[in-house]
Subunit: 408 residues, 2 copies
């Protein structure tokens, strides 16, 4: 962890590296809820160089607890960016050829406007006065950013989990601005089980007296225990049972025998406690509430009279959809629902189910088959546009610092 | 809920119907941890009549949050006992023919000695001074009870989930006292994922300031919010994704549209909140810690040099093992591990995997194939012993009051 881990939210934001741009100053951003925000700030990172034709831009959409620091060293955790395996020279998102843009989502806590920022009307942090945002609102903020950057059309938009929801939203609402859409480990709506796990996390946060109805900025305390429990719950859903068995099984933590107490006897307990505790140093509890809510609310078909295929009618976008065999949070059945809708809309779609035991987190990890598939898909798009292609570099995940410990 | 729901623990225990017996007065109960308890109280219920030969006794072992009130009206919740579909006239455990015994487990909170009871050494409730108990300790307390009741040999021992763990323990440690062992939706050890979900629940309880290091009896407050989150987490693991989809999908609760807030917009949220809140009226938070710990510690093979088959060497017991296709908490692969060990030990075993979407909770619910299988298995045992058999009555789960809402 860096010194930023212990800084207050506003101190941290001021000191974060990278770009911040103020948008929606003249015309407010009208949210799906009907509320309006003006202005908004969007914090983003770029990797690589935009070409003269502005035809090599790839928008990376992050997941629930990700942020704009997809590659490089994360300024708060000091670890590799969450998609360092995907973004870099010779990688799938080859920064020698592509201009990669990754923005913190609306409602987030790494510099883009969210509940920890100051409400101009009150002069103190928004807390629960911040309006509920949706995946569509996140995409709208990204669209304003691309307008400001002068990027009319993306070579590709790509993301996993909630990032994949943004990808689907982009393709549905702005098909003229997207050539290729790559949706990984995602779904066109949040299921009852998905909502249930998020609700547990929210209830854990709200049960923490230090949450104070969302106004914890007043006391200076944070709902650390509640947020840690929320993180632990989510974390288990990101892993598969076989991966947990392979990594931990019933192995004991720093002891030869059971303690007959409530310490972390088992490695899996110690691991989860660590995941919970370290998360609270980099994430805002209210932002966790808002972003999980945005995911719960996501139901793309509902915007199209309940027909998902209608979201993709006459779409010129080329789609790539990938799922992972051991992902029980966003299972292959949900990916197939997307693919069936795309087929029903006669859209151009490639679908791959990757055989892995790594669960939902597989999209973040070293999955050679996934990387080869995406590389092939993007190379075809480059050839179509007359952009250069290049072979995929061989990577050492250990060297990049992205191994099986979840990095977002 | 009855008036008992709001009574203090000790008041409630005093007023509970049914039997309580004091055991281990002369010789203390030596626990697996090495700690000793003396005396212990065991609270139990019986259904049906013990025959003159004492050959018709069936021991029912309850799961994590179950108790001795398997049938009849539960004195605290006012609802049907947790296994009313299984225990009663004409049912699988036919109370016209069998003498059914069900005891609250050691470490529980419904009358058997547990952390909410008074520690004789201090004169105040045990709290975290209560020794950690194991599944083997629970079985040992049941053995003392059967000794007191003069039952040398059980016709059958039966249970699901943690109840199934007790069944396996009984068969392994006391094969001479069990004719038939029926283990449902269970495993011979707790997996890393099982431990992880329990640890989340424990951390939620311990994160609640009202838990006060387990000494909440001093303030009179209870860690209600933490225990509710623990229950919500566990509850989701008891259901399958298809069942959640079928019951709730994305249906809204008492509203026509999304609220764009953090109320329970979705029925599944409302349902979980209710499950969490109602649980704290009938269950003790420290007992939840102790019983989840007992399950985590369960690893039958570890007591036999790591060879599960050795636990069943030369066993005269007839086994019936059942799993449910949609049970992801105790999946069929775990049941098969038990069956393989029994086969390796040349034990007599029937195995059935029931096709259902009801998840882990299926063992509590109306599953005609399960009931028919168990009825056939028990009838064969009765014929072998010259006990009467009877057809299985047709049941209306609605009438019995046991539908898909989890009853334990």
């Amino acid at each position: 962890m860096s010194a930023l881990a212990s800084a207050s939210h506003l101190e941290r934001i001021e000191r974060l590296p990278g770009h911040r741009v103020v948008l929606a100053e003249d015309a407010p951003l009208r949210l799906v809820s009907g509320a309006e925000l003006s202005p908004i700030t969007v914090a983003y990172q770029t990797y690589g160089t935009l070409n003269a034709e502005k035809s090599n831009a790839v928008l990376v959409c992050h997941a629930l607890t990700g942020d704009q620091f997809a590659a490089g060293v994360h300024p708060v955790t000091g670890k590799a960016g969450w998609w360092s395996l995907m973004v870099g020279p010779g990688r799938v998102l080859d920064t020698d050829r592509f201009f990669v843009v990754c923005a913190n989502v609306l409602g987030g806590c790494m510099g883009t406007t969210g509940p920890a920022d100051v409400n101009p009307a009150s002069g103190e942090p928004w807390g629960l006065d911040f309006p509920v945002v949706t995946v569509a609102d996140m995409v709208e903020a990204q669209r304003l950013l691309l307008d400001r950057l002068g990027i009319d059309k993306l070579l590709a938009v790509i993301g996993g989990s909630m990032g994949g929801m943004q990808v689907l939203e982009w393709a549905a609402k702005h098909p003229e601005r997207v050539r290729a859409a790559i949706a990984l480990a995602t779904a066109s709506h949040h299921t009852a089980q998905n909502i249930a796990f998020h609700e547990i996390g929210r209830q854990a946060i709200m049960a923490d007296p230090d949450w104070e109805g969302g106004a914890y900025f007043r006391s200076g305390r944070k709902p650390r225990r509640g947020l840690a429990v929320a993180r632990m719950t989510a974390h288990v859903t990101y892993l598969s049972e076989p991966a947990l068995h392979r990594k931990f099984g019933r192995k004991l933590q720093d002891r030869a025998r059971l303690s007959y107490g409530f310490d972390a006897d088992f490695q899996v307990e110690s691991y989860l406690r660590y995941q919970g505790k370290s998360f609270v140093d980099r994430f805002d509890a209210n932002a966790y509430l808002y972003i999980t809510r945005a995911m719960d609310y996501f139901d793309l078909a509902a915007d199209y009279g309940g027909r998902l295929a209608a979201a993709f009618a006459d779409s010129p976008v080329r789609f790539c959809v990938a799922s992972f065999t051991s992902d029980w949070l966003f299972p292959t059945s949900e990916a197939k629902r997307i693919v069936q809708a795309l087929n029903a809309a006669a859209a151009d779609v490639s679908f791959v189910e990757i055989d892995t035991d790594k669960g939902h987190d597989a999209f973040l990890l070293a999955e050679p088959e996934l990387h080869a598939t995406l590389h092939g898909f993007l190379s075809a798009e480059c050839e179509r546009l007359g952009l250069a292609t290049a072979p995929l570099a061989l990577l050492d995940p250990e060297e990049i610092g992205q191994t099986e410990d979840r990095v977002t």
